[in-house]
Amino acid sequence: MITVFDYGAGNLHSLVKVLTGTGRRVALETDLRRAVHTELLVLPGVGAFAPAAARMAAGRATARDALRDGLPCLGICLGQQLLFDGSDEGPGEGLGLLSGRVTRLQATRVPHIGWNSLDDATDSRFGPAALHTAYYANSFVCRPADPSVVVAWSTHESDRFAAAVRTARTLGVQFHPEKSSAPGVQFIRQFLDDVLPR
């Protein structure tokens, strides 16, 4: 079973459609403490940091421990940012699974909206033969304290930032794979196949 943590903002339809399209059961859960009782947790990616962190607060420690213990997790956009300690976008604590902060893009045009390339990948899910250009819609990006968790990079103007991070069995992506057309859909399916027993 896959559980999508639903913190009340934005469009989950496309994401849920991709997840159910793999023949697996998908549940939406608004309580993070209950959401971790699953085979794969998805932290979706629309909304602002502070309200999402507030919705997460009660289940924060439970979820962090579950991910540390190896619960597979896919964090998308804001969902990736929530893996870190905190954000300059607003108050509240992230999961703290990864150390580092979320800060505003250093660029003349923000938000960063559109399709950007995924560079210098150290994970075979990204690169010329896999997902190489993805759709972004973000003003803030993750700045990991330990750059070795970054498995792909993107650059907006001159600001190079973490396109994807990996730790334990958690993968966080700053872009929206569910909005990155067929290669993005394929990326999600591949991740599910990699982390979930069939």
Binding site: H13, K17, E178, K179
Partner: protein, 253 residues
């Protein structure tokens, strides 16, 4: 590197794609979901639905359409037309839109831009601005280009961005449907004045026009409608021309 976007716009009314000139002689040209999926397959970077429904009954179908579309379309969908309040924004996003365009409602009550951005993030709030050259300046019009306002387009765009709009969808009323090119002076003036992406709209008649909007006009994205629906150009041909002009373009699968 961030690529330049080509965005396909569909006018919808009562859940169907319609086509007409200046809202006159509208005729049904198909199912929005089918057309949107076709444009995605051809390499369109985003889809915009502009709802031109004339009544609440017709507009009621929009959220259902967003829902159906989101289940089949895997590129971003923006919905504009008839969105009035932050609750309308919430409903559209919840139904399946990734971004929402605000036009007349933002002119009437600019705070709706702040409210939308605070609640959902700037990246999903699009300020849709219709402008027309009038008495030596670009004047903002509302209600489908019918109602003049006292706002000047460049200053209004800057205010929209300052209030939290994450993109400006800028339509030239003078050029809309004329197919003689985007209003490059308008586009460039707005692109120079705002720190958010600008989508050029109105006037596309050829691939050269699209390229000019993205180079001379300094737009981040170009919106096309009629030339696609009338099969004057295809998405693939437009993107090939963008590539040939030296612009960074996404390679579709």
């Amino acid at each position: 590197m961030l690529t330049r976007r080509l965005i396909a716009c569909l006018d919808v009314r009562a859940g169907r794609v319609v086509k007409g000139v200046q809202f006159v002689g509208l005729r049904d040209v198909g199912d929005p979901v089918e057309l949107a999926m076709r444009y995605e397959a051809e390499g369109a970077d985003e889809i915009v639905y502009l709802d031109i429904s004339a009544s609440a009954e017709e507009r009621a179908t929009l959220l259902d359409l967003a829902r159906r579309t989101a289940e089949h379309l895997f590129i971003p969908l923006t919905i504009g037309g008839g969105i009035r309040t932050v609750d309308d924004v919430a409903a559209a996003l919840r139904a399946g839109a990734d971004k929402v365009g605000l036009n007349s409602a933002a002119v009437r009550r600019p705070e709706v831009l702040n409210e939308g951005a605070d609640r959902f993030g700037a990246q999903c709030i699009v300020a849709s601005i219709d402008a027309k050259w009038d008495d030596g300046r670009f004047r903002v019009y509302t209600h489908g280009g019918q109602t003049p306002t006292e706002l000047e387009a460049v200053a209004w765009a800057a205010e929209c961005a300052q209030r939290g709009a994450g993109e400006i969808l800028l339509t030239s009323i003078d050029r809309d449907g004329a197919r003689d090119g985007y209003d490059l002076a308008l586009t460039r003036a707005v692109a120079d004045a705002v720190p958010v992406p600008v989508i050029a709209s109105g006037g596309a008649g050829s691939a050269a026009h699209v390229c000019a909007a993205l180079t001379t006009g300094k737009a981040d994205a170009a919106l096309v409608a009629g030339i696609l629906h009338d099969n004057v150009m295809t998405v693939a041909a437009l993107k090939q021309a963008m590539r040939a002009a030296g612009l960074a373009v996404r390679e579709a699968a």
